[in-house]
Symmetry: C2
Subunit: 393 residues, 2 copies
């Protein structure tokens, strides 16, 4: 890709997060996919999941994404994609179809291995909230590597494959303390969560070397292998050169809502200062290794009208205190934020929005007001974004 | 509504048709919703249906339809909407939410009672293929009337309610012979289908009088009550005046693919001749009663590249003989057909497209080539239609 990456994540499709599809979790205690599969009967879990996969993302969405001017789709996939980890149901056929849609509509795919058995981050998006034990289990580390190589073998000659990302958001020491995922997400089984701990940067470097070695052996030279920064953007500057990695990219995830947790004030002006600084940091790292922003969102507390505390949906009671903007003011604010963000991200290789689609109802459940900016399909209709006229720097 | 009706049907959402959502019918013998509910276990049927209803149409679709310039949404609903006909699952909560979406995004709703127990047409869209016995069962005729009055009571004061349509496509003698639904759709249970017969126009007149009387008693004067023409556009000219009906409209469904069954040649020029003539017929009927085209589609054999025999999806083998057009030629042909159609329909009160969305995969199952024109969400992306610049006559 000689142009900048202008991408969208297909979040909530093959890897579930309850807040992105609350209806899928209706009438069940489960807060994540691990418990959805365990709480429901086999046939009911299968029925829900198969209909969701066939309807949440369809051929039309690939047509729409391509027509809107995006050139890349990052697809989060689970470790059980090949159907060999019961009770979870594989989804490789769904991914096969998506590759053909991408080719037909002229967009490329970045495959993102988004979860690991016993989780790499204890987030809900790791599939098992409050648990982070994968890196401590050598057999599961090896299993994760076999998922990567099987994906590489399957798609290495497919015209739509742009790259493979080794593992999503492995949590390291500092962010483990800042985000405190075991407190933030409900840990249902304390025994299962026992000995959970952040992943050391030392472990991550060894895992990345092994994954790179195995993938580069399979993939053509022009296929990118990408690595999440473990929330430590500056840590990796020398790593890739030292180890002579070819055609790799560093993926960094940058959310305004997380910046707010770290002290960025809740105003458009403050967001722009934060983004401008981040653009400089990306430009600095880009001198060492190509870097893209693989997840980001317009979502923020200022337009949501409430302190989101890092993306916590307010209750109906808290919603009463929300400050809502006029439609025009909202559109102008988002567009200004979009432009400032894209300007920053394009100091590197480009950007991939989180996410294409959410199934939330802001009309009947008004506490979701403002959360619709997570949904690029809505951003496009509302003209909160301008992907056709990207700022070039 | 002082402007012309410019609407879209939400087909395949609360009333299922297998060809519109084939994945929903995967791994089950059922060809229609009746057998989907009977072939699956209660919990599996519920799981599939609830996820489908929550994902096939969402708030975003109402935003998208409104933003595209449409002013009306016709929502087909089943006779079991109130959940009192086991094993079917009611969907009144889904409809409640849709009414609020419509109000929030400034579009109006035409409620369309699309099915009846034991069916009014033996079509797949009646929910029970090959069976047409409803009109012969006085208790079920009465039940259908109570569904109408319950809907009227529930939404009579809702700002989004534009009208209620009494029953969709009751099949009368002539079309029963032309379409031959018992041959066209598989009749699974010959005992259940025994004594199936077309509905007489005499019965239909009496039913329409009773339905009008009960609904007009409940609904405000400004709420439209509409009646399908039973595939006999010219039959109804005097009926509404004779019976002193207030604020009623006649709904006629006009498909190019059905015109083909009756002999219209498969070419753009022939379609335009057919549409021009139909526009004159609509203008003629409009002198007696306001008439709108409540279902129509750009779908036709010429752009599909194969004789569709009234909408029969070709097999993969037949597909090999298909003639596919260039992307540009396809777009130009559809746009010309859109303009000719809208010009004809606007001789009356306006038009409502069938349908907003289909879940078919034209890339991985290329026999669906051409069937994507049924899907207004794709027509909009492909710019095959131009709802913002309606032809005024």
């Amino acid at each position: 890709m000689t142009e900048k990456i202008k991408g969208i994540n297909l979040g909530g499709w093959l890897v579930l997060e309850k807040w992105m599809s609350p209806k899928l979790f209706e009438d069940v205690a489960a807060e994540d996919e691990y418990y959805l599969a365990h709480d429901l009967s086999e046939s009911e879990y299968k029925a829900r999941i198969k209909v969701h996969r066939s309807e949440f993302i369809t051929e039309t969405d690939f047509l729409r994404i391509s027509s809107a001017g995006f050139n890349l789709i990052r697809i989060p996939v689970p470790y059980f994609i090949f159907g060999d980890r019961l009770p979870f149901i594989g989804c490789i056929e769904e991914l096969d179809r998506a590759f053909n849609w991408a080719e037909a509509y002229g967009v490329r795919i970045l495959l993102d291995l988004h979860t690991a058995p016993f989780s790499q981050n204890a987030f809900d998006n790791g599939g098992l909230s409050g648990v982070c034990r994968w890196a401590q289990m050598p057999k599961e580390v090896e299993f994760e590597l076999t998922v990567l190589t099987r994906l590489a073998e399957r798609y290495k000659n497919h015209a739509a494959l742009w790259g493979i990302e080794v593992i999503n958001e492995p949590i390291t020491e500092r962010i483990w303390k800042t985000m405190n995922p075991q407190k933030r997400y409900i840990t249902r089984d304390l025994k299962l969560a026992a000995d959970s701990a952040p992943i050391s940067l030392e472990f991550l470097k060894e895992f990345y070397k092994e994954a790179y070695f195995r993938l580069r052996n399979i993939l053509p030279e022009e296929t990118v292998i990408s690595f999440h920064d473990g929330f430590e953007l500056h840590y990796w500057k020398e790593f890739f050169k030292e180890n002579d990695f070819k055609n790799v990219m560093l993926d960094t995830h940058q959310y305004v809502m997380i910046a707010e947790l770290k002290g960025t004030p809740q105003s458009l002006e403050a967001y722009k200062v934060y983004l401008d600084d981040l653009g400089k940091q990306i430009a600095e790292v880009q001198k060492y290794v190509p870097v893209f922003v693989g997840e980001w969102s317009l979502f923020n507390s200022y337009t949501a009208g409430v302190d989101t505390k890092g993306g916590i949906n307010p209750t109906q009671e808290e919603f009463l205190d929300k400050k809502t903007m006029s439609k025009n003011e909202l559109a102008m604010t988002y567009l200004e934020l979009w432009n400032a963000s894209v300007k920053a991200w394009n100091q590197g290789e480009g950007h991939i929005y989180w996410t294409y689609k959410l199934n939330i109802d802001t009309v009947n459940e008004p506490a979701w007001y403002g959360w619709d900016s997570w949904d690029m399909s809505r951003c496009l209709i509302n003209q909160w974004v301008d992907p056709m006229n990207d700022i070039k720097y």
